[in-house]
């Protein structure tokens, strides 16, 4: 309701035209000049308050134009002032609903201005609103913050306690994407090193060390530890340094590795978080839905188990380029040559789902109910059409990086 009322209040400053001659011909005659609205226009409430004594707010109640009045005898003026507005929304002026208001709009506006001026200095205040739908000043207080401070402030300002309503609300933040700087760090976010961009696979604790896992080729040198420094999401941002590569086994020759090639069982590496970097163990960024191209973060998946996939399983990934994609496992344990290299990744899993450059390192997981997921592995490759991705199964990642606590 307050969103509606906000929208109405903020719209159309010059919506009223005080020309009595233009009054609707069906309206009762009036000797006073009464503001008249064009049907498509929204009213300026301050002007309306001057025209209708006791006016306390206008809003749509399930679509019905509704007005607060401290003096019910002013209904006729309301109908004249808002007749065109009501008709523009499919209602006769007589169908405008009038509610008993306690406070006049002018008083509420003055209190709104006073409280707004002072409240934000206290901290924990998310918003201050003259809420036309409740005939009160509404203060949004961040969950966990004190409401008593707001009441004290109101008393100090001489605002009646009953005129202030406080609600617990979530903080309002910019809509972040997978390519933005996000804290706490979760899987699926963009990371930057050197001249390259990848995605975070998952957070983990290894031997007591807070870490994240990404692809081995998302290090300065694929295979071997050279202390790659990672930034989230870009090194050009303040406070973007998040960690340093600490584990990335070298590629081996011989044995099961095809001749003239070098091999590993996973394209995975581990980086230790820098001191003070906040991260969520088990957290994977969630977007609005699979395969819709959105990169905007709308929530968080939570890892609750580890697992493996078989052909036909539907699995997911969240990465910085193509977001959340989902598809069926088409092949398992595939020895996979890597284009442009001598590398063969042994026993990898193919998935028929979208992928793009920059998704390397992404988490791969299965949905287990709600936002709970089973962690399956680390994405590293894809076909040229961007319709098939390849990942290293989690058991092989742990075989090479050591045991990982992931939730």
């Amino acid at each position: 309701m307050s969103r509606h009322s906000n929208a109405v209040r903020l719209l159309a400053g010059a919506a009223l035209v005080a020309v009595a001659a233009c009054s609707d011909s069906t309206s009762p005659p009036s000797k006073e000049p009464v503001p008249v609205l064009q049907a498509a226009q929204s009213p300026d409430l301050a002007t309306l308050a001057r025209a209708v004594p006791g006016f306390g707010g206008l809003f749509l109640d399930h679509g019905v134009p509704t007005v607060y009045l401290t003096d019910a005898s002013q209904r006729g003026k309301v109908e004249r002032a808002l007749g065109a507005f009501a008709r523009g929304r499919g209602f006769a002026p007589s169908e405008i609903k009038v509610l008993a208001g306690r406070y006049a709009y002018g008083d509420l506006d003055r209190w709104f201005q006073q409280v707004s001026q002072e409240a934000f200095a206290q901290g924990g205040i998310v918003f201050v609103d003259l809420d036309e739908a409740s005939n009160r000043v509404l203060v949004g207080v961040e969950r966990g913050a004190s409401h008593a401070n707001v009441r004290s402030l109101a008393a100090r300002l001489g605002v009646p306690a009953e005129a202030i309503v406080t609600h617990d609300v979530d903080p309002i933040q910019y809509a972040a994407t997978l390519q933005d700087q996000v804290r706490p760090v979760v899987a699926g976010l963009q990371i930057h090193f050197g001249n390259f961009l990848c995605s975070i696979g998952f957070n983990a604790v290894s031997g007591g060390q807070n870490s994240f896992v990404t692809a081995s080729h998302c290090t300065n040198t694929q295979g071997g530890v050279e202390g790659t420094q990672y930034f989230q999401s870009l090194s050009s941002q303040a406070n973007s340094f998040i960690g340093t590569e600490v584990a990335d086994p070298v590629y081996f020759r011989g044995g099961v590795c095809p001749r003239h090639r070098v091999c590993r069982y996973s394209d995975a590496s581990r980086a230790a978080y820098a001191a003070g970097v906040s991260f969520t163990l088990g957290g994977i960024a969630q977007t609005s839905g699979p395969n819709n191209g959105s990169l905007t973060i709308t929530g968080t998946f939570g890892v609750t188990s580890k697992g493996t996939a078989v052909v036909g399983d539907v699995v997911n990934k969240v990465g910085r380029t193509t977001g959340w994609t989902q598809g069926a496992v088409t092949n398992t344990c595939v020895n996979t040559g890597v284009s442009g290299t001598k590398i063969v990744q042994l026993c990898q899993t193919f998935v028929s789902a979208g992928v793009g450059g920059g998704d390397s390192g992404s988490d791969v997981f299965g949905l287990t109910g709600g936002t709970s997921v089973r962690l399956l592995g680390v994405l590293w490759g894809g076909n040229s059409g961007g319709t098939q991705f390849v990942y290293s199964p989690l058991n092989q990642v742990e075989q090479e990086l050591g045991p990982l606590t992931v939730f």
């Binding site: 994407t177 390519q179 933005d180 963009q190 001249n195 390259f196 961009l197 990848c198 692809a215 080729h217 998302c218 694929q222 999401s233 870009l234 090194s235 050009s236 941002q237 394209d267 990169l295 990465g319 380029t321 996979t336 040559g337 890597v338 284009s339 442009g340 290299t341 992928v355 793009g356 450059g357 920059g358 998704d359 390397s360 994405l379 590293w380 490759g381 894809g382 076909n383 040229s384 961007g386 991705f389 390849v390």
Partner: protein, 146 residues
């Protein structure tokens, strides 16, 4: 490139004085062409060159893919049927490679295709994947005489 780099890096003095992205819209100052012989005999190797040039006055940062930059070449018959595609059936690492091109700088990628196909006219097209829509050259014609 979806907004993160262009505005965020421009003026940040991180890599270059100012950054413009190639994808999803190719800057007017970027030239991408494919170069190959007009005609070769059947069975001969065909050297194919992709040439990416910054023709503008500002440094460009291009969001390409692969540790070694990935590029594709598509050879098709005049009826559109593809007879060779460089990246067909290969698995590429899905990493973004931020490639900087100074004004007037050119970056070239080369490969060779063996023309073991029927005589006729063929089109050659170069493609470079990015983290958005790929860069594509205008196609050129290669003739394989009878």
């Amino acid at each position: 490139m979806r907004n993160w780099g262009g505005a965020a890096l421009c003026g940040a003095a991180l890599l270059v004085p100012c950054i413009v992205t190639a994808a999803p819209q190719r800057p007017d100052s970027l030239s991408f062409t494919v170069v190959a012989p007009h005609s070769v005999r059947r069975g001969e190797p065909v050297p194919i060159l992709l040439r990416l040039t910054n023709t503008g006055t500002r440094t460009l940062n291009l969001y390409l893919t692969g540790r070694t930059i990935t590029f594709d070449i598509i050879v098709a018959r005049s009826d559109g049927h593809v007879v060779w595609r460089r990246l067909e059936h290969v698995t590429s690492q899905q990493i973004v490679h931020v490639k900087t091109l100074a004004p007037a700088e050119t970056f070239e990628m080369k490969d060779v295709w063996k023309a073991t196909v029927e005589p006729g006219d063929y089109t050659l097209t170069g493609v470079i994947p990015t983290d958005g829509p790929p860069l594509r050259t205008t196609s050129i014609t290669l003739r394989i005489p009878p």
